[in-house]
Symmetry: C4
Subunit: 222 residues, 4 copies
């Protein structure tokens, strides 16, 4: 695949991912009559199902990272050339913001408006560390043993992580930045974004080191 196709896939996939996360959050909050558990359940099911579709749809083009933490981990494992890391991350971030704007347009909201949703403190940072550690572990473990099932493993993991972390598992720096521009169910205050991103990068590093030891050699073909 040419680089232009891969970057288009990363941008478009990340955009649709954010449209799913933010759009389903708005719909869920509007319909749930104040029951946050029902709203998060709908948001969870939409996100998990959306990830299955998106990874199956774009995986063979670009790897379907949609996430700078994944791209950095793949580059660390030499699955992505170092020269492509910055282009990947740039289009992921641009795509993420475009997806937020697309979702806001579908629900009659302003294209961007800063979130006032407070998400900070050690419990949430620890949550983001754990969430990203697990996500990178799932990707390395599954792609080195049964890669055809990775789309389902990743979607299932995120479905669980929305509930078992107190932060609802952002686990993605591009997602974190773009959700800071959405004052809706899925938002995060801009001032809280750096803490989340640092915790995510730490979790990514720990998982990449540990899982590369656990799975020493990828299969030659899959």
């Amino acid at each position: 695949m040419t680089l232009s196709r891969r970057l288009t896939a990363e941008a478009l996939g990340t955009a649709i991912l954010l449209a799913v996360v933010v759009g389903s959050g708005i719909m869920a909050e509007r319909l749930s009559g104040g029951n946050v558990a029902i709203a998060l359940l709908a948001n969870t099911i939409a996100t998990g199902a959306g990830l299955v579709a998106l990874i199956l749809m774009f995986g063979t083009i670009s790897g379907a990272h949609f996430n700078p933490a994944v791209t950095l981990s793949e580059a660390w494992q030499r699955n992505v050339p170092a020269a492509e890391v910055l282009p990947y991350i740039a289009v992921q971030v641009l795509g993420a913001f475009a997806g937020v704007a697309a979702a806001h347009g579908m629900f009659g909201e302003p294209l961007f408006f800063a979130s006032e949703h407070v998400r900070t403190g050690p419990a949430q940072w620890w949550s983001e560390f754990v969430a990203t550690f697990g996500l990178i572990g799932v990707i390395i473990g599954c792609s080195r043993s049964r890669p055809a099932l990775t789309p389902f493993a990743v979607a299932a993991y995120i479905t669980a992580a929305y509930w078992f972390t107190s932060s609802t598992s952002f686990a993605n720096p591009a997602v974190t930045l773009a959700r800071a521009a959405s004052n809706t169910f899925a938002g995060i205050r801009p001032v809280d974004a750096p803490g989340f991103i640092l915790a995510q990068l730490a979790g990514m590093g720990a998982a990449t080191a540990l899982f590369c030891w656990l799975y020493p050699a990828p299969p030659a073909d899959a």
Copy 2:
């Protein structure tokens, strides 16, 4: 497969799809005690699961389009002969209305009654454009890279799209026409149908053009 078998599969599959969408909407609204989020969640799970079953059940006969937008996109890609486009669309529309009548019969409603559910305006048209763009993208992307998983990718996508679009993702002209004949949870006013269908066709066109560039050649075998 003979054309008569393929048209029977398209008619029957579209009929069951509409029975699922409309029937589960009626059941969900009756049981949910006014909580629309719970009703839509049940409607979503029934529709997503029903799509898995229907595409696995009819896919090898007719391709399991159940949707004029899909048939037009496949004809554009020369996967369906031009002479079969109108027959496909005709049986899809007939099947869709039959499915609505079957659902109404299961719940003791009149066979057909015009919907009064208002669904209009730019946010909803943009939603239908995005919903259909994504659906066609999933079908092209997945069927050109891992076709055995397309039934799951399509069902997962629609599960997400019920929630991330403000229109709940009709994404199907035959479905739109038939749901105009159901004054229930899933209905749409007849006067609002043309706007939805135009947006769906625009989304179909954009996705077909873009994804045929992204995936230049289908695999010889899958």
Copy 3:
């Protein structure tokens, strides 16, 4: 596989299926605080997930029918010898009652007690016809084209059918008889069982005839 192993698998599988249907219905009703939509949603998810597990667990031994309508349809297609039809049905019915008793034991209810849940009338009979027609269609269509995915197709179909039929899709004579012995969420009055069973057998017959024409020859290998 020997006949004794196959009959054991049918008896045990049908027993666990009924334990799932009846047990999750009791749990759901007790916890849902009167919201029937939430109760049915939990009952649906438990039943769909249970079917995936049970069909994967017993399918290669006995075919995982768990249902006299399926056994009759398979015998019609000459996939099951005529001499085995009655033994299959006998152990399915015995297993179904054992499963109801097992579920009642888990929830501190009497082993058997006749249901007072009224389920009758043309709309419900039509629902059972449609539900069983679709179930047999899924089984024939999927097992003649991609048999490895039949467990998922059947479970997905039943998940949808709990919601799109007004009868919540019994679609199984053995299940119908045994649920008449449970005065809980999943029950049916004994006097209403014959109407359900007749509608199920009619739906089975129509689907077997139609789908054997749609799929004229099973694949030699799958």
Copy 4:
């Protein structure tokens, strides 16, 4: 795989499993506004999805037991050397407690605090017998016929078993011990743990004996 890798996988996998079970229980209880059905539904979906991810992620390293009952059953079938049984169980128990502490940390709770959740009596012990019997049956049946699908079968089974047993299906001695150290939604009083564990071991024994008769020889290759 070296033993150190396998023990790391068992410890880490069991830890994440407990973090999922306990963490999602806390989140569900906090958000559900007192509707226990909604809380258990969220807990169920998170656990089922988490199991898919965890078994796909660690299965090829250690077998992904995460459960002393599974390890004992596998040793009985001579799939695990006798000398490795105690190390497996030891790291499962340690991992389970670590996972509970990790979850508590994510939600700002004390690392450990004894549960006051009463779970005892014949109906619950019978539930744990049935739950573990079915779990071991799913594992033996599926791994001896279509092992690639075992992760999905196990996760689907547990999803159902949360609802069809009155005990919500612990089915795992390590999980039972660790949940005694969490006074949250998923907890169990320490004094009630031995009854659960004895019932689990009895269910494991019955299932291993029966399913080894049902499936006399595993396939040579899968």
